[in-house]
């Protein structure tokens, strides 16, 4: 008798333990997605994916973590993931942003990468909720042919899966792909597939198991220029005399199909619609209002082709590079401007000051591969700390500027792969005593005073040996 009982006990423990493990480590089998709709926007060179998931907890235990899966090829180009959830009753719905963090799972098939969504309130068993997920890819449109002539239009490949990659069972799903024009060279059919105008519909597909994958390839025309800032260094210098000086150094490249062979100015000028349609003629930078002393130059001098439009809410700087950028062409330039300090610098309650400024690149529709933001605090400021909405690499530097003695503290923040949606505000807190503002004027004054004293002394002392 004893043995069966023991066996049953052991079995019971084991089952319980296993169950516990499963519940703890991955609530995968509890959840299922009852309905998923995905809209892929391919109109610009930043691929935007809107994913609507209806998640259902089919298990018995409440869960507060939901996983998003990405194939490893896509995750390298993934710039940002945002998850919103609707809250409230029918009329008073508000969108609440949820925390998303990359996660490693040990048994990920084929190197799948995961992001975990942390729910504010656990999803109880039997309940369901709707998640709005937005994620952006950069460098995901591969030009094909990779090199085009001046008058050819730019064709690109987009690779994805017709089925949404997910660790959960998806009951019903559909994918809509929007292309910039009706000109689509080819696309993979995964029945049922429809195409109407600029939109393609993959699906609906029913009851797909976890990790279903069905690669698709869309070859279509995208003549929008691909402005990619390979490196951007933004330097924000705080002067407590009332000015905020921003200097931005760009290395800009056209990331589309490489230009091949001849560049004929006569064709470019006489037939602008046909010739060089994908070339980058101008860029628009959105600057804060009340911007002043704007300059736009490069290492060999001022670039005269820019226009500044200001109104009370925003300033727009339209800049033309020195030459139109064709695919693969590069240029570098510097934009600088001054801003009134009171718009950006505030005092917090604990006698500290903080700067509130936008993080990303002010150019519209631009991908930034590497961004370095340097905040140069005034000389004598202490205990700097930066608050950014997303993870960045941080370190401190020292910079010597006009007549500095101890140097200015520079808070350096670095981030890779940015899209315009990273243009959120960041804060740098620091302490600063206003008396330091007088250091340099006093130094100058005393230097001149000493100089004059020396002059007077020299005139009144006869240094000659002979009398």
């Amino acid at each position: 008798m004893e043995a069966p009982i023991r066996a049953a006990q052991f079995l019971g423990f084991t089952v319980f333990f296993l169950l516990f493990c499963v519940c703890r480590s991955s609530p995968l089998h509890n959840l299922l997605i009852s309905n998923a709709e995905r809209r892929i926007d391919l109109t610009s060179h930043i691929v935007k994916v809107y994913l609507t998931l209806k998640v259902e907890n089919a298990g018995s235990t409440p869960t507060s973590e939901i996983l998003l899966a990405f194939p490893p090829t896509q995750v390298d180009h993934l710039a940002t993931v945002e998850v919103l959830v609707t809250k409230g009753k029918r009329k008073k719905t508000t969108l609440v942003r949820l925390d998303v963090k990359p996660t490693e799972l040990p048994d990920a098939p084929n190197g799948t990468k995961y992001f975990t969504i942390y729910l504010a309130n656990p999803l109880n068993s039997g309940e369901s909720m709707t998640l709005e997920v937005l994620y952006l890819f950069t460098h995901s449109l591969e030009p094909f042919p990779a090199e085009i002539g001046q008058s050819e239009s730019q064709l690109v490949y987009y690779r994805d899966s017709a089925l949404i990659l997910s660790p959960y069972h998806i009951k019903q799903q559909a994918t809509f792909v929007k292309t910039p024009s009706t000109k689509v060279e080819s696309f993979t059919r995964v029945e049922p597939t429809n195409r109407a105008g600029t939109e393609m519909k993959y699906g609906p597909y029913e009851d797909r198991p976890p990790y279903s994958f069905s690669p698709i390839l869309i070859h279509f025309e995208n003549n929008s220029p691909f402005p990619v800032v390979e490196e951007l260094v933004r330097e924000v210098e705080i002067s407590h005399w009332g000015n905020l000086q921003v200097t931005e150094q760009y290395t800009l490249v056209h990331g589309g199909a490489r230009h091949k062979g001849v560049f004929s100015r006569v064709e470019y000028q006489s037939r602008p619609t046909l010739s060089g349609t994908s070339s980058l003629r101008y860029l628009l930078a959105r600057l804060p209002p009340r911007v002043h002393s704007v300059y736009y130059r490069d290492e060999i001098g001022n670039i005269s082709s820019s226009h500044l439009r200001t109104d009370s809410r925003k300033s727009e700087l339209e800049i033309e590079p020195r030459y139109p950028l064709f695919g693969g062409w590069k240029t570098t330039f510097v934009i600088g401007y001054g801003l009134p300090l009171q718009d950006f610098l505030f005092e917090s309650s604990d006698d500290r000051r903080y700067l509130n400024f936008t993080f990303g690149c002010p150019l519209l529709e631009t991908v930034v591969d590497k961004l370095t933001v340097k905040v140069v605090l005034p000389e004598g400021s202490k205990d700097p700390s930066a608050v950014v909405a997303f993870p960045v690499e941080q370190h401190l530097e020292t910079k010597y500027s006009y007549l500095d003695v101890v140097g200015r503290t520079v808070v350096v923040m670095e981030k890779k792969n940015l899209v315009p949606s990273h243009n959120s505000h960041f804060q740098v807190h620091y302490t600063f005593k206003p008396i330091f503002m007088l250091a340099e004027p006093l130094m100058l004054a005393s230097a001149f005073f000493l100089f004059f004293v020396a002059c007077v002394a020299y005139l009144h002392i006869d240094l000659s040996i002979r009398k």
Partner: protein, 791 residues
Amino acid sequence: MAAPETSTAAVPTLHTNNTVRNAFGGVLSFFILLLIGVLAFSIRLFSVIKYESVIHEFDPYFNYRVTQFLTKKGIYDFWNWFDDRTWYPLGRVIGGTVYPGLTLTAGTIWWLLNSLNIPLSVETVCVFTAPIFSAFASWATYLLTKEVKGAGAGLTAAVLLAMVPSYISRSVAGSYDNEAVAIFALIFTFYLYIKTLNTGSLFYATLNSIAYFYMVCSWGGYTFIINLIPMHVLLCIVTGRYSSRLYIAYAPLVVLGTLLAALVPVVGFNAVMTSEHFASFLVFIIIHVVAFVYYIKGILSPKMFKVAVTLVVSVGLAVCCAVIAVLIALVASSPTKGWSGRSLSLLDPTYASKYIPIIASVSEHQPPTWPSYFMDINVLAFLVPAGIIACFLPLTDASSFVVLYIATSVYFSGVMVRLMLVLAPAACITSGIALSEAFDALTGSIKFQLPGVSTDAEVDAGETSSDTTEAQNDEVKAEKPEETSKDRRSKKSKKKEREHVERPSAKAKVKTKAEKKRLLALPLEASAVSLLLLIVLGAFYVVHCVWAAAEAYSAPSIVLTSRSRDGLHVFDDFREAYSWLRHNTDVDDKVASWWDYGYQTTAMANRTVIVDNNTWNNTHIATVGTAMSSPEKAAWEIFHSLDVKYVLVVFGGLVGYPSDDINKFLWMVRIGGGVFPHIKEPDYLRDGQYRIDSQATPTMLNCLMYKLSYYRFVETDGKAYDKVRRTEIGKKYFKLTHFEEVFTTHHWMVRIYKLKAPKNRIRGKTKKSKSKTSSSSSSKTSGTKKKNPWH
């Protein structure tokens, strides 16, 4: 600069009334000098205000690039810099072939500012070096003229120099060229020479050789100094003005100066081996002989002296003959066979155009026209003769130097436009003296006629007139502090006293002065009217200078503007092209263009060029000229053998930019033809006329330059009308077989072509194509080998 002035003014003297006036005069002239400095600096900022803070033209870009290298890599790397970005495949030793003065000056300024944590860029420092040094130059002019004719003349000359158009043309902000610092060095060296001559102080003599060293570092024009000063010494000796002061002023300069000059790598042994320097050595010998004679004369009795002279003369003649023979042998065997090309063209103005087209092709080496004198020195041209006369009343050592300076520089400026720059300070000094003396006489006679209201008149004149009269007004006051200073220093040296005697105006006592004035006094009305006229003349000068600074000389020439009805239009094509080259070609690609654009290409585009503005290798330039004037296939072969990837041409036909490559093309033909005789100038001319319309010769219409300039030009307006030549071009539709257009700027001013890759050789076909080309280029009978010097 004016510190000693104030210092002497501050010294209390016995006469309290005088002290106040002296102090006032000293402070006033100090502030006038300060204002002159500000004026000299700020009148040169028109280019920054109208355009931007940017380096101008061609040579300044090279200097800028060298300065960048210096600030980045340090002085030792700079001396050893072998530049492989120019003169491909030869390269150029920069450290040994460049006058380092300007670069070191700007580099030092930059280093000083940065060590004070003032983070100015190298470019900013370079842009503002020239205006800063023109302020220094006007102060140096003050010092020099003050040594010659007193403080009043000094201030007037300084004002004139601060805004003389000739100097402005070379020293506007951004014109970062050797002349910018060299003119200051030139005037300052002359000042120290005169100062030594006046004081006989070895201290100033040493300073003088250091200033001369700085001048040698800065500019090849230092040979002017080392020839002018010996000439003056000789003049003094001949006119019987030999003194120990003259010896002190000259001998240390030659010894120390030559030693120091030999330290500059670009000069090196040239300081003793080229004919430009021989005059100084000859005079060095002569002054020693003269000194020896004077010494002997002092110790011997007159009778003995006569005997000695006859003895020495007979022996000396023999020795002289031997020395002259040795000298001639030296000249003949010296490395440059005596004189360099540019110096020779100074002595014989027709030399360059006869023998060296590369020197003649530069517009600034041409003789000037008469209007350019009026443009560059304006009313000074009329004041100079008066100044020369004033220098003779009385003729001192110092004023004879000024006369000699103006006479030689007038000659040199007549040979080369560029040397107008040397004339400008001389003209300012003499005109300053003339104006000062004239004002002195006129105000003096007014003062004499109206004893009661003299002070009022004086003040009035000072207030109503421009700086010139103010300076003049001050002169009376300013001269007195000098007097007191002399009193103070006369204890130290008796030489000062002598100088005093030479200056009657300073030394004269009140009574004799009044008597003299009565004799010289002019009628009141006449002096008032002529005073007014002089002020009007000065006003004309000021207006002209401001106009010249603002309109004529402020254009940076890399960015052009034109005013049309719909506002200002900017032509920024050069930088567009250079920027494109910089970012979109491989870093080791070689770019061929005419040598004018070499410096800019290396500095702005950072690409290797075949030839540049240094023009040290005529054959290499001729190769590029030959390629440009050859038909496409031959040109491709030359360029390909030079490993050229891109060819850059400047074309002004679309917008009417006159100094483009088509207009320079005949020089390419001439220079190319000078080395490779199969290029003949008459082939490109129809009846002696240079034309590109339908009457042009087939050689012209088939040459590379024509093709690269006008490729697809007809598609812009359908007629291919060239706005510079004001004609329709001769050959409108043609194709390029060995070149392809890779970039053309917005206004078509710069066109860049890429050499097509050589075609794969197919057996049997090569022969055919070869025979074809040889038949098509019928004029080239001299064979393919000669066409291409690199094969």
